[in-house]
Amino acid sequence: MIHLKQLHKSYVTGNNRLHVLKGIDLTIERGELVSVMGSSGSGKSTLLNIIGILDAYDTGNYYLDDTLIKNLNERKAAYYRNQMIGFVFQSFNLISFKNAMENVALPLYYQKVGRKKRNKIALEYLERMGMLEWAMHTPGELSGGQKQRIAIARAMISRPKIILADEPTGALDSKTSFEVMEIMQEVNREGITVIIVTHEHDIAERTGRIIHLQDGIIDKELKPVELQRYA
C-alpha cells in the first residue's frame, strides 16, 4: 500500500539547511494499523505530511497504492488527497462555522457530490460514530471526544485507502483517548490502512506495528509486546 525508498527531506530557512528525513525506507501493507513514534524533532510529523501528500520530498521515491507520488502539482495533489487519504488531527481541524453534518460532508463537496446526497451520506457516517443527534451542532458546542469522532467521520466519508492520524488523542483525556482508539481499530478492521503518529505508549501498544524514528531515520521497528521492554 505504502512504499518509501530512500526518502530525503530538508527544510531551508535562510542560510540554514535542516535535514529532517535522512533516507527513510518503509513498507506498509494494505490493512495494517501502524503507529509512528519518536521524540519531537525526529521527523515523524514530516513523514506523515509526505505520506499525506501535504508536503513534497527532495529525493527518493514514494509509491501510494502503486502510484508514484512525486513532483505533483497542487491540483493533482489535491485530487489524490481527496480520493485516497483521510486525515485526523490532534486539534480536530473542523470548520467552526459549519455544523457537524456539513463538516463531515465537505470532502464529498470537493468530489462534486450533490448537497442532498452528501448530507445523507454524512448522516450515515455520523450515525456510525454515534453522533447522529449532534449532527446540527457546530464544533464549538461539542466536547473534544465528540469533535474527534466527527473528524474521523469526515476522514472516512470519501472511502480513503489510508487514514493518517497526527496525535489523534493528544488533546483528549485518557478515557476519551481509549474510546477514540477503539474507533480507529474498528476503522482498521474494515480494511482501511491506518497510520497513527503518537508519543503515548499506551496508544502505540494498541497498534499492530510501531515504527520508531530517531534523527530522521527509522532506528527500530517494534511489536507492541516489545514496547514495554523497550520503554
Binding site: 505530511n49 499525506g52 501535504l54 508536503d55 497542487e74 491540483r75 489535491a78 485530487y79 488527497r81 481527496n82 480520493q83 486525515f87 488531527f89 490532534q90 486539534s91 481541524n93 473542523l94 470548520i95 467552526s96 462555522f97 459549519k98 456539513e102 465537505l106 470532502p107 463537496y109 470537493y110 468530489q111 462534486k112 450533490g114 448537497r115 469526515r154 470519501s158
Partner: protein, 411 residues
C-alpha cells in the same frame, strides 16, 4: 464556476460572518450611493439650466444701439447710435448665415390695455413675423404677425392666454378690438409660450411697422435679433462680427468700438454653460470613481484579512481535497457577491432618493429632474462585478498559495 453548491458554500460563509460582511458591504454601498446622488444632481443641474434656456433660441444674437467711445473719421466720441429699419433689412438680405431675424420697437413701459370695461397693464412688444421662431412662440388659435401686417401697418394684436383670461373672460377674443393706449387693435391670434417662467405671457405682440407708425417711431428700431441656425459658436461669432461691421459702415463708427453697439450672443453663452457642465461632470466622475476605488480597496483589504483569518480553514479545505482553483474561485466569488449586492443596493437607494426628491425640485430654478440614465446604471453594474473580481484577486491569490501543511501546523 456558477453551480448552486458554490453559491450555497459562499452564502453560508457570509451568513456565518454577518458583521464583517456588513461592514465591508456598507463602504461599497455608500460609495455607489454617493456616486448616484452626485451624478443625479449634476444631471438635475444641467436639466435645470436647459429648462431656463428652453424658452429662447440658444443660437440667437441680440444687437442694440449704444454710444461711441472712440473718435472716428473726425467725429467726436459720445455719439448715440440709433438703429434704423435699414439695419434690419440690410442684415436680413446681405449677411450670410442669418436664419431668422426680427426687429423690435418698444412702446415704453407697461401699456394700458382695455377691452370694454376690463383694464389691464401689459407689455406691448412689436416684432417681425420671424420673432415667432426666435422666442419659440406657439399659437393656440389664429395666426402670428405676417408679412402683409408689416407691409400695410395693420393694427392687429396677438395676445396670450393670460391676456385672454383677464380681459375677455368667457368671450371669444378673435376678431374683437382691444385698445392699446387708447388705440384699437384687432385680435388675430392667441399664443402660449414654451418659456416655463411665463414671463412672455404678459406680452401682447403687434407688427413692428404698425408700432412705429402709431407710436411715433417711423424708421426707428430699438434692437433686433437674429438666429444662426445650426452654426457653431465660432461661425456665430463671425456672423455677429459681420453684422456689427455692416452697421458700423452705415452709421460711421469704428467697428472696434465696443461701446457703440450692444450685442449679446446666446450661443456663446450657452456654450459656456455646456462647458461648465462638462467640467462638473468630469469632477463628479472623479469624485465618484475615487469613492468607488476607496470602496474596492476597502473590500480587497478586508478580504485580505479574511484570508489571513481563514488560513487554517483554507488549509483544512485543501487537506481534504480543495484544489487551488476552487479556493481562488471561492474568494473571488465572495468578493464579487459582496460588492455586487451592496453596490446594487446603494445604487437603488440613490435612485430612490433622487426619485423622491425630484418633485421637490420641480419649482426650483436651475434644478430639474435629477436622475441618472439607464446606460449609466447598467455600466455601473458591470463595473461593480469587475471591481469585485479586482478586489478579490490579490486576496484569492494569497489564499490559493496557502500550503495545507503550514495551515495545519498546530498552534
Amino acid at each position: 464556476m456558477l453551480d448552486g453548491d458554490k453559491w450555497q458554500e459562499i452564502l453560508s460563509t457570509i451568513s456565518k460572518n454577518k458583521l464583517r460582511t456588513f461592514l465591508t458591504a456598507f463602504s461599497v454601498a455608500w460609495g455607489i450611493f454617493m456616486l448616484v446622488i452626485l451624478l443625479g444632481s449634476g444631471t438635475g443641474l444641467q436639466n435645470g439650466i436647459n429648462r431656463e434656456f428652453s424658452g429662447e433660441a440658444t443660437n440667437a444674437i441680440w444687437i442694440w444701439g449704444g454710444q461711441t467711445s472712440k473718435p472716428y473719421k473726425g467725429m467726436k466720441p459720445g455719439r448715440h447710435i440709433r438703429l434704423k429699419d435699414a439695419d434690419y433689412s440690410e442684415t436680413k438680405s446681405n449677411i450670410d448665415g442669418v436664419e431668422y431675424i426680427s426687429g423690435r420697437y418698444y412702446i415704453g413701459g407697461n401699456s394700458q390695455v382695455s377691452y370694454k370695461n376690463e383694464y389691464g397693464s401689459f407689455n406691448v412688444n412689436s416684432a417681425h413675423p420671424d420673432f415667432m421662431h426666435i422666442e419659440k412662440i406657439e399659437m393656440v388659435r389664429g395666426r402670428y404677425i405676417n408679412v402683409i401686417d408689416i407691409k400695410k401697418w395693420r393694427k392687429v394684436a396677438i395676445i396670450s392666454e393670460m391676456v385672454q383670461e383677464s380681459l375677455f373672460k368667457d368671450e371669444d377674443p378673435m376678431g374683437k378690438y382691444l385698445k392699446l393706449n387708447g388705440i384699437p387693435f384687432k385680435v388675430v391670434g392667441i399664443y402660449t409660450d414654451l418659456d416655463i417662467r411665463n414671463r412672455g405671457l404678459r406680452t401682447i405682440y403687434i407688427p413692428i411697422t404698425s408700432a412705429q407708425a402709431v407710436f411715433n417711431g417711423r424708421g426707428r428700431i430699438h434692437n433686433f435679433v437674429v438666429t444662426t441656425g445650426d452654426a457653431s459658436v465660432a461661425e456665430s461669432k463671425v456672423i455677429e462680427d459681420n453684422i456689427i461691421k455692416s452697421i458700423a459702415r452705415r452709421h460711421t463708427f469704428d467697428p472696434e468700438d465696443d461701446r457703440a453697439i450692444g450685442h449679446w450672443n446666446a450661443s456663446e453663452n450657452y456654450q459656456q454653460f455646456q462647458n461648465l457642465f462638462a467640467g462638473i461632470r468630469i469632477f463628479i466622475w472623479m469624485i465618484g470613481v475615487g469613492t468607488l476605488i476607496a470602496g474596492v480597496v476597502g473590500v480587497s483589504n478586508i478580504m485580505m484579512i479574511v484570508v489571513t483569518e481563514r488560513t487554517k480553514e483554507i488549509g483544512i479545505r485543501k487537506a481534504i481535497g480543495a484544489t487551488p482553483g476552487s479556493v481562488l474561485n471561492l474568494i473571488i466569488l465572495e468578493s464579487v457577491l459582496i460588492i455586487a449586492v451592496s453596490g446594487y443596493t446603494g445604487m437603488v437607494m440613490g435612485i430612490g432618493l433622487l426619485e423622491l426628491l425630484s418633485p421637490v425640485f420641480e419649482n426650483i430654478p436651475f434644478i430639474y429632474q435629477p436622475e441618472i440614465d439607464v446606460k449609466v446604471a447598467v455600466a455601473a453594474t458591470v463595473i461593480l462585478v469587475l471591481c469585485g473580481v479586482i478586489a478579490g484577486y490579490m486576496p484569492s491569490r494569497k489564499a490559493a498559495r496557502i500550503k495545507p501543511v503550514i495551515a495545519l501546523r498546530d498552534e
